[in-house]
């Protein structure tokens, strides 16, 4: 089931992406409403990160197009933020927390311009939002996984974008960080920002997201969580993956779907 909306924040049309001639995303066609807090779920290798990367134009598309607020990516880059997977960078790199967070301001600066006090202030207030203001001077090599993720989120916040793309923001973070991050994302969503995040933990999907994209090489479902996060689509998404299937089974049992199916 693919739920389309009018005037979407994100529109993906007939997107196909492949590595080595092997398709990893096949004919994805979806729209996401403005202000949605959207989770992308699916088994490992389903193309979740690939979807985000192809939206950000980091990998070439075989077919299709992506529009954000009805514009091409290059026209609207300054309104978009991207939070890559935490493991994608070398955290031993010689930089302070503040250095990394201020990178979020580079897009607005352009060539030949230097960082100013305003950029520093923006970075500091973003750090405050994620509860990391005390760590501004700290070297990034000394951070824990959860703190690294907060720094990445703070960097995105300094861009003050309209739409956020987050690649596994909850992977390997502590419970307190997960709670803090989802609260920030919910607040942003209430301010009308659109948020799209790759997510792994099926248990928390319903409490975190109001829109869900279910992916397994092709698009299984996209729509409001209450409509598409159902046993039928979960099985269709995770079907055949044994370990994940049992996880889904647990979930189904927990929520008492059996009873309803018998009726």
């Amino acid at each position: 089931m693919i739920h389309h909306v009018e005037n979407p924040a994100l529109e993906i049309h007939d997107l196909t992406v492949s590595y080595d001639k092997k398709p990893v995303l096949w004919g994805v066609d979806l729209t996401i409403p403005n202000g949605a807090l959207c989770g992308i779920i699916g088994p490992n290798g389903a193309g979740k990160s690939t979807l985000i990367k192809s939206i950000m134009d980091l990998i070439p598309l075989n077919s299709g197009y992506v529009k954000i607020f009805d514009k091409e990516l290059d026209e609207i880059r300054k309104k978009i933020s991207y939070v890559p997977q935490r493991e994608s960078v070398d955290w031993d790199f010689p930089a302070s927390v503040l250095d990394v967070v201020m990178m979020g301001r580079y897009s607005q600066l352009g060539l030949f311009k230097r960082l100013r006090k305003a950029d520093r202030d923006a970075a500091l207030s973003a750090l405050e939002m994620v509860g990391m203001e005390k760590y501004a001077k700290r070297q990034i090599a000394q951070l824990s996984g959860g703190q690294q993720q907060r720094v990445f989120l703070a960097r995105a916040l300094t861009q003050n974008p309209e739409i956020y793309f987050l690649d596994e923001p909850f992977a390997g973070v502590d419970a307190a960080t997960e709670k803090a991050i989802i609260q920030i994302l919910k607040n942003l969503s209430e301010e009308g920002k659109t948020i799209i995040a790759v997510h792994h933990d099926l248990q928390s999907v319903e409490t975190y997201f109001n829109w869900v994209i279910m992916l397994n090489l092709r698009l299984v479902a996209s729509g409001p969580t209450s409509e598409v996060f159902t046993p039928q689509f979960l099985e269709e998404t995770y079907g055949g993956k044994l370990t994940l299937l049992s996880e889904v089974g647990e979930l189904v049992k927990e929520r008492g779907f059996h009873a309803r199916e018998k009726q």
Binding site: L58, Y82, P84, V89, A95, D99, M103, L109, R114
Partner: protein
């Protein structure tokens, strides 16, 4: 490792530039070497991404092949007194004061290596000074840089172009092999003892200068190779920095 590769693979560029222009004019050799340096970087990336080769394998294949080509070219034209293996592989810093550069009227204006390297120094300082933030972001997080519209591959090639420039400008003095040590050892030593990028840049320059000065006096005392002594000192500095970091822990 890419610095290592570039320092070797610029060799055919130097030789080809020499064969085309017919003189050892520094400007042409720098251009030839610079082009080969960028080509090396490009080939390494190409084999890595399109050929699915690991980075180290890709580096290994690219630079040895280009270096071999350079060696063949050098030995084939070995009849010429000005360009031979020894000079390219080992360099000779002692000749710097007698290899003068002349102005149009024929007056000596200074040692050629000093002038060429000063120009390179100014170019590099300006480049790092002006584009510090672009270099910083594309090195740390290329995906994020690309996402906000700063092309990481463009900056990578510019940076590698400058590495080639530095390498070829220095090889006449210290040779293509030892220049690698001077590219890497001072920077590695600085990396061990500081975690601040700006300090690291300053410290590695400082270590480089100390290695040169102490190395010169060491070779004077031992009556040995100057370049060899300089690299020995930079190795000793690296060793001291390593010990300091180990003892701290």
């Amino acid at each position: 490792m890419i610095g290592d590769a570039i320092s070797h693979s610029v060799l055919p560029g130097i030789v080809i530039a020499f064969l085309l222009v017919g003189s050892l004019e520094s400007a042409w050799m720098i251009i030839g070497a610079g082009l080969l340096g960028v080509l090396t970087t490009f080939l390494i990336e190409f084999f890595h991404q399109k050929g699915k080769l690991q980075t180290d394998a890709s580096i290994g294949v690219t630079f040895t092949w280009l270096f071999a080509l350079g060696v063949i070219l050098v030995t084939y034209y070995a009849g010429n007194a000005h360009i031979d293996q020894d000079c390219i592989l080992h360099g000779e810093i002692a000749y710097v004061p007698i290899d003068l550069m002349y102005d149009d009227a024929g007056n000596a204006i200074g040692p050629k290596a000093v002038i060429v390297l000063s120009v390179v120094l100014v170019v590099i300082l300006l480049f790092i000074g002006i584009f510090y933030k672009e270099l910083f972001i594309t090195t740390f997080d290329p995906d994020f840089a690309n996402a906000i519209g700063i092309s990481s591959s463009k900056w990578h090639y510019l940076l590698m172009g400058l590495v080639s420039l530095t390498t070829v400008a220095s090889f006449e003095s210290v040779g293509a092999i030892l220049v690698v040590a001077l590219l890497i050892a001072p920077a590695s030593a600085a990396y061990l003892i500081t975690q601040d990028l700006k300090w690291m840049l300053l410290l590695s320059s400082f270590f480089g200068i100390v290695s040169s000065i102490l190395g010169y006096w060491l070779s004077y005392l031992l009556d040995g190779s100057i370049a060899g002594a300089m690299v020995t000192i930079s190795g000793v500095i690296f060793g001291i920095c390593y010990l300091v970091t180990v003892l701290k822990k």
